[in-house]
Symmetry: C2
Subunit: 294 residues, 2 copies
């Protein structure tokens, strides 16, 4: 079976890619792959106007509105749709994926996704899970750009079943896109960290906008701190409901830790403990500076 993982020995210019979902992220993959000069890009996207636009811009070569025979040509398939949509697609169209193909995804929270996808795909197709730590405001193909990968980190989350050469291939692809770092870790550890670095900031932004203190006059009193703190509150609710529910226990733990920090604030303010306030702020300032230089 080893020989069937053809992409190992192919140069990128000889490799055929499939992309399922041509939104902000899928479109960005397509543009980054085009920039790399890959052999062919086959896109599956339900909106025909998006497909027309991508064909017109020369970003893709083959346009499909659903899974079909043309996908069999793909050496690697990238799923850039919601986790639930990805599983539904695989269930319906797995027969159109070539034996020996490498399949990857871009989901920001993994949960049981990796195991479920691998189980449906079977042993002849290698599902190597990963995603870029990248994104930008807005959504849809019209906002996609190859540049979202520039300087970003790429996370690769192998399962024990993955072939080492395929894991390596995905890492090299991310670096070719312009990513600065490629980090490998387990899906479990990944979801734990993401609950803190991504889920929590999003739910804090939403909570800040939903505070009953928001009024008609708020807009006059807003400077950078409020704007920054709420930027991601303009959220894709459907997508994020999946992400939050898929990472429920880790997110609940993060909310708990955050509530502990708020309790420290309340305590220090109530007792007018200036030293405690200073210590909290100085510690945070130092950590934030270190992050900036990281």
């Amino acid at each position: 079976m080893a020989g069937s993982f053809a992409i190992r020995d192919k140069e990128l210019r000889d490799t055929v890619f499939g992309i399922v979902g041509l939104g902000l992220i899928g479109g960005s993959y397509a543009k980054a792959l085009r920039r790399l000069g890959v052999k062919k890009i086959i896109a599956v996207e339900k909106h025909s106007d998006t497909l027309s636009q991508a064909l017109k811009e020369g970003v893709i070569d083959v346009a499909c509105q659903a899974g079909d025979e043309s996908l069999k040509e793909a050496d690697a398939v990238i799923f850039a749709v919601y986790p639930a949509a990805m599983l539904a697609f695989i269930r319906k169209y797995a027969a159109f994926l070539r034996q020996g193909a490498l399949v990857t995804d871009v989901a920001g929270v993994k949960g049981a996704l990796t195991a479920e996808a691998a189980a449906i795909l079977g042993p002849g197709i290698d599902f190597v899970s990963g995603h870029p730590m990248a994104g930008r405001e807005g959504s849809g193909f019209m906002n996609s750009a190859a540049e979202i990968f520039d300087g970003a980190n790429y996370i690769v989350l192998p399962s024990p079943a993955n072939r080492p050469e395929n894991i390596l291939w995905l890492k090299k692809l991310a670096l070719s896109f312009g990513c600065r770092s490629v980090v490998e870790l387990s899906p479990e550890k990944h979801d734990e960290i993401i609950a803190y670095t991504s889920n929590l900031p999003h739910l804090l932004a939403v909570s800040l906008m939903n505070s009953p203190s928001l009024s008609e006059d708020t807009k006059f009193f807003i400077a950078g701190s409020f704007r920054d703190a709420t930027r991601v509150a303009d959220i894709n609710a459907e997508l994020w409901a999946d992400l939050f529910l898929g990472n429920k226990y880790n997110v609940l733990a993060e909310i708990g830790r955050f509530e502990q920090e708020l309790a420290r604030w309340s305590e220090a303010l109530q007792s007018e403990d200036r030293a405690a306030l200073l210590a909290m702020m100085q510690s945070a300032a130092q950590k934030r500076k270190a992050l900036k230089n990281a």
Copy 2:
């Protein structure tokens, strides 16, 4: 006494300004006033190198390391130092302020500041409190810029003792700086609103950085949401300890309201209530969009 408020009838090009404190904000006022072509700018700043730099750049005309006779020439004096330092300065040097002068400040939280300052200054000097909703990263004169006022909101917080013509003068000055809106309200209402729009986002950013979930690896998993949510965690601890303590009750109330929002998240996650999650996120997204367009 009415005639002694000379600045009412003076064009800006005939007006002499004093600025106490040439840091980020004081320096920005000096540069904005220079751009407006005012007659003279007298700066008081304890760091002699800052004074030399400002003189060299032509941003100020007269440099003092402490309050002295030269301040008597100032028609208007802007305090751009911490609230405690401002009160200490007025106690020590009030005799060097000219009778009939207009004095203003830039403190982001007012508390009892307005009343205390006015009591020390006495009835011959009109203290009109206000501040721009402006700022930028970093600190110090080297980061100051006239442009911080461009498109910003300016808040004016009159007391019943203020002369209407002086309130009007300060509002016009803010518009001349390039501010987009000038909003007048009571110091009490102001502190209530600022607890939500400024104090709370700052303490959320500090809390997020201080979470025990932060680790050496965090940096690999950070995208825009975490960066934005923690930007202001690189905070001036001494200044903000004053601001938080000066607005203690309002800040505690805001923390309480925010905790209620977090409780809604925990509840919805625990019961896997997708509809509740969607409703919270959709509401926040809508409000954030409205803010963007405001």
